[in-house]
Subunit: 187 residues, 2 copies
Amino acid sequence: MMESLRTLQRTHLLTVGDGRFLTVESHVVAFSDGSIVEDWGWVISPDYVNVVAVTIDGYLVCFRQPKYAVAGLTLGVPGGYIEAGEEPLAAAQRELLEETGYVATGWQRLGSYAVDGNRGAGTAHLFLATGARWQQPIDADDLEEQELLLLDRRNVTRALLAGEFKVLAWAANVALALLALDESQPQ
Amino acid sequence: MMESLRTLQRTHLLTVGDGRFLTVESHVVAFSDGSIVEDWGWVISPDYVNVVAVTIDGYLVCFRQPKYAVAGLTLGVPGGYIEAGEEPLAAAQRELLEETGYVATGWQRLGSYAVDGNRGAGTAHLFLATGARWQQPIDADDLEEQELLLLDRRNVTRALLAGEFKVLAWAANVALALLALDESQPQ
């Protein structure tokens, strides 16, 4: 029978800034074959949400924007860090409204994922929102400029498979959303 | 016009172990609105590949396994860190053979993605391999036990949308692969 890996010890190594965004630990990890790894780096960064919203007209609410870890511009989707005490769904609804001004009537969970399977780096909670309609002006505190784009499914699929959503969580969210839409509305 | 963010300064903060898997820097970052952020944590970890392989009989080559950042067991796909000087495609072909014993005739790139859009944490190169057939016994040096599973597209889609591929890169890879297969062979 397969067993999960066990954490035998954790040691704080580093806090960057006020620790809100990045802390690093070293773990001693026991594997099921009896082997032990010392100095297993473990990254603690905040959990976040992303959401693919589909408007009542069938368009996906996307961004074109820069992002620090990416060269040039990238396509993206709304999202951000979960606030203290906030549920992932509430965070997704808040981020959609703040970043795009849209609200949505149908919300579907697309899973919660370890950002780095070995080192942690937080959990990404992904959502599909349907029945989205514009409600109010954008109220985002992001440092990056974002151009809001409404793209149809065909264009989003094409851009996605061409690698134009250059951040892993965004590509995952868009791909999962397209599959979920296919499942609910066979083409 | 939107501009990319600029790195004004980088300072080494931490090397975990021999530095092969995790190094942390602090960056000073300039945003296009003129604002500057000090102490922007930046994570350096190795680039990696993942591959969804489809056999000549139409099954996807998956694993059931534990993974350190995940509670319980998860579904997964082959992959691993890129070796020094290795091309991503060569790494994907090597990992598929080592971890599953399969070789494939058709290889399609599904994009290269920043694992963390803000903090880096390496690049994930994702692939779809078709025409896969078993060639030789497994030769993996992974510490985790892995149970190899051949799953049909219907079952993979169901498990994916139920969140059973619990690592972000694996879910992204499977979702992108299913969409790419749909594009090439409309159902």
